[in-house]
């Protein structure tokens, strides 16, 4: 186990107890830029910062990471700002010292709650990457903190900010396709599960860490939570030093939503290019909807195919838009489209999939039926 991983793991262990009691949020003037700090400057954090530096509403003032190099890289991405971005290793120190309006949390999944809750309790706006966190207990803690927070809490389910998803799902919700009968999704990749994602104590599991985007889309389509889930997972790639609780690289999951609507999903790694891609199909009484393509396909004799929105160019479409929207939500005191309730549904659905495929006691993949109530969420 590398040094970095030890830090990450011990970071999780110290929990949410020692919270800094906040830098109060200021009232923003119409022309004031939103001062931003970021916690977690790895790949995804850097990716978000690159988008943020193109959005005039923001001024990044501080970057925090357990690894100094990463914080420095973040500062370099933000070199346009004056004064220069300050770097921190301890996020509590950053929260204490900096005058921030908002904080971006892009740590590992299992560290989200640990950072998000203090940020919200400090009265700051918070954008956190998905999923909310990796356990039901921590999701509940964040949910409670967010429900009573003064600031905006937005979760990085960017498809909520992709126009074609919005238009297609609005069409479904408006009754444009009749009753939904089945949901189908696939996410296949040429690469393998890397780095920290292999460690389920950090990532939850690979389905939760990555494919929760699709759990989000389908809970959005269904306007609610699944009742039951059953799943099969496996790890096919050999690792030199696998973690104690090692994540799946292949999974097949079925969720049952009210009204016997089934959502069948596969999430596979190390595939040939021809089998790769993202597929999200909604089957309904009158037509099928391809959410990625933004297309409506009527059943035979029920009309012609119709474009509902622009095709999504790639899986990451919506990231710029969600960050742009975060600034707008802050300014207008709006509830984000990807808010705590939306994120809770998607994250718990992701956790449900992981729980249905893995037996933590035996440390092995084993399918079981998990009900929504079995999750034991108290929110």
């Amino acid at each position: 186990m590398g040094k970095i991983t030890i830090s990450r793991r011990s970071f999780i262990g110290t929990g949410a107890a020692a919270i800094a009691v906040g830098t109060p949020r200021r009232i923003l003037g119409a022309n004031d830029s939103i001062t931003l700090g970021i916690i977690g400057c790895g790949g995804r954090g850097q990716r978000l910062l690159k988008a943020i530096t193109n959005i005039p509403a923001y001024r990044v003032v501080a970057a925090c990471d357990l690894i100094q190099d990463r914080a420095d890289t973040a500062a370099q991405i933000c070199e346009q700002y004056k004064p220069k971005v300050k770097t921190y290793i301890d996020f509590r120190q950053m929260l204490r010292r900096e005058k921030l309006d908002a904080v971006i949390v892009t740590t590992e999944e299992a560290n989200h709650g640990k950072c998000v809750i203090p940020v919200l309790e400090a009265g700051l706006h918070c954008f956190s990457e998905k999923p909310m966190d990796t356990t039901v207990e921590k999701v509940d803690q964040i949910t409670r903190a967010a429900r009573k927070a003064k600031g905006v809490y937005q979760i990085g389910y960017q498809r909520h900010y992709v126009p074609s998803f919005q238009q297609s799902i609005k069409h479904i919700h408006n009754g444009g396709v009749g009753k939904v009968t089945f949901l189908q999704g696939m996410w296949q990749w040429a690469y393998g599960v890397g780095g920290r994602y292999r460690d389920m104590e950090i990532s939850g599991c690979w389905f939760l860490a990555q494919a929760c985007h699709h759990a989000d889309v389908m809970t959005w389509v269904m306007n609610g939570n699944p009742l039951r889930c059953v799943a099969m997972g496996s790890r096919m790639e050999e690792y030199e030093n696998p973690p104690e609780y090692c994540a799946e690289d292949h999974s097949a999951i079925a969720f049952e939503f009210p009204g016997n609507v089934i959502f069948s999903y596969t999430h596979l790694m190390n595939c040939c290019d021809q089998f790769c891609g993202e597929k999200l199909w909604v089957y309904a009484e009158k037509a099928g909807i391809d959410l990625i393509k933004g297309m409506r396909y009527p059943r035979p004799g029920m009309g012609e195919p119709e474009r509902l929105g622009e095709e999504s160019p790639d899986w990451d479409e919506g990231t710029y838009q969600e960050l742009e929207a975060f600034a707008k939500h802050i300014r207008n005191h709006e509830k984000p489209l990807s808010n705590v309730e939306v994120g809770r549904l998607a994250t718990l659905t992701g956790i449900m999939g992981g729980k249905a495929m893995y037996n933590w006691k035996k440390k092995q993949f084993e399918p079981s039926i998990v009900t929504w109530d079995d999750l034991g969420s108290t929110t």
């Binding site: 009968t181 999974s251 079925a254 049952e256 089934i262 089998f275 297309m295 039926i369």
Partner: protein, 387 residues
């Protein structure tokens, strides 16, 4: 329930008596290479007639007799076979037919739930038997056929026609030769625009759509996995379109029209499958993908796609023109096997695992006691097969 359905069901119920009063053998002698192969058929509904049309194109074969409970079906079959000389004799009682006719083989294309009822007597008579898939719709009846077939003088062939489809044969041979490395995942889909109706709706007659239709794909993945049964299965099923016809409302256990099924094979290989009806055309089709260490194989397309940096796509065999491809070939093979004393590629051992996989899927998605779709995890042992 119409008369025809009453007949079909009471036909099943007489099964055990039926099997005990079998005619003791009217198999013909060893055939010469140029001898005409003489066949009978039991069950001449849609599929039976479709088989007959193909058989009439196979040289040196004669349909000598036709059996169906319904007169119009017998007559439709007789029209298809009108070029044979002498003309086929028509029967409503298959035991009577087996008693009176001298045959080399018999085709069984009844409803699924009547397969064992006919197949077991055919085999016990010493005839070669071609039966449509799946073998039957209960574990107990599958076991009876397996036991009868294992000790039969003739051979037993099950109508899983993909076993005779060159594209599938080449592709699966390539996988079995180890050219693709370890299998990591199996994925299948079969989506249709049409609706679920007729006798297939009645699970006690058909086993449900997963058994009656999608057993073809269970068979393909069973073949890929070398006839090693899955360890476990989990499934969800649903009826999305209500059945309101009077005869439909009398059916006790209705077939699913949507299902999502997962099987776990030894080594953690998962087979994920969906089988859906009432779909838009753009979502329809047949997909059977094998994921492996070194790449993927698309079985209906017979294409090999290496993983990035491991080579270029390669055609392994001819693409399947449609889902029914292999039916002529399997029937021609049936005749050839009779004439040349060969064994079928799709026999009771492969058919057993494929059929039981389908029944496993249905069991995992449906609770008979409460007549409700309720997912469970079912192990292979829980099926209780005695073969």
């Amino acid at each position: 329930m119409t008369n025809k359905d009453v007949n079909r069901r009471s036909f099943i119920q007489t099964t055990s008596i039926g099997a005990s009063v079998i005619a003791a053998g009217s198999a013909r002698n060893v055939l010469g290479a140029n001898d005409e192969v003489v066949l009978g058929i039991i069950g001449t509904g849609g599929r039976g007639q479709s088989l007959l049309k193909r058989i009439t194109n196979i040289p040196n074969v004669r349909i000598a007799c036709i059996c169906d409970l319904r007169e119009n079906r017998r007559e439709q079959a007789a029209v298809i076979c009108e070029d044979y000389n002498p003309k086929p004799k028509l029967y409503s009682e298959f035991r009577d037919m087996l008693d009176k006719e001298k045959l080399d083989g018999c085709i069984v294309a009844t409803e699924v739930g009547n397969h064992a009822h006919c197949v077991v007597p055919v085999l016990e008579t010493g005839l070669n038997c071609f039966s449509e898939k799946p073998m039957d719709c209960t574990v107990e009846k599958v076991d009876r056929i397996v036991k009868a077939a294992r000790k039969a003088k003739g051979f037993y062939q099950v109508g899983f026609q993909r076993r005779y489809n060159p594209g599938f044969m080449k592709s699966i041979e390539h996988i079995h030769n180890g050219e693709m490395g370890k299998i990591t995942f199996l994925q299948g889909q079969w989506q249709w625009t049409w609706s679920v109706g007729g006798w297939v709706l009645d699970v006690d007659m058909s086993g449900g759509e997963l058994a009656e239709q999608a057993c073809h794909h269970m068979d393909v993945m069973n073949w890929v996995m070398n006839n090693t049964p899955p360890v476990r299965c989990a499934a969800m099923g649903a009826i999305t379109v209500p059945h309101t016809e009077p005869y439909e409302q009398k059916i006790e256990h209705l077939s699913e029209d949507h299902s999502a099924v997962m099987f776990e094979f030894p080594g953690g290989v998962t087979f994920s499958y969906t089988h859906l009806f009432y779909c838009c055309e753009q979502f329809c089709g047949e997909k059977l993908w094998v994921y492996t260490e070194k790449g993927g194989v698309d079985l209906p397309q017979a294409m090999k796609y290496p993983r990035a940096g491991m080579g270029d796509p390669e055609r392994l065999g001819p693409e399947s023109p449609d889902w029914d491809h292999g039916t002529y070939e399997e029937l021609a093979a049936f005749v050839d096997q009779i004439r040349n004393n060969k064994k079928p590629l799709s026999d009771q051992e492969t058919g057993r695992v494929s059929t039981l996989m389908s029944l496993m899927g249905r069991k995992a998605m449906y609770k008979r006691k409460t007549k409700s779709f309720e997912p469970t995890v079912v192990t292979w042992e829980e099926l209780g097969s005695t073969t």
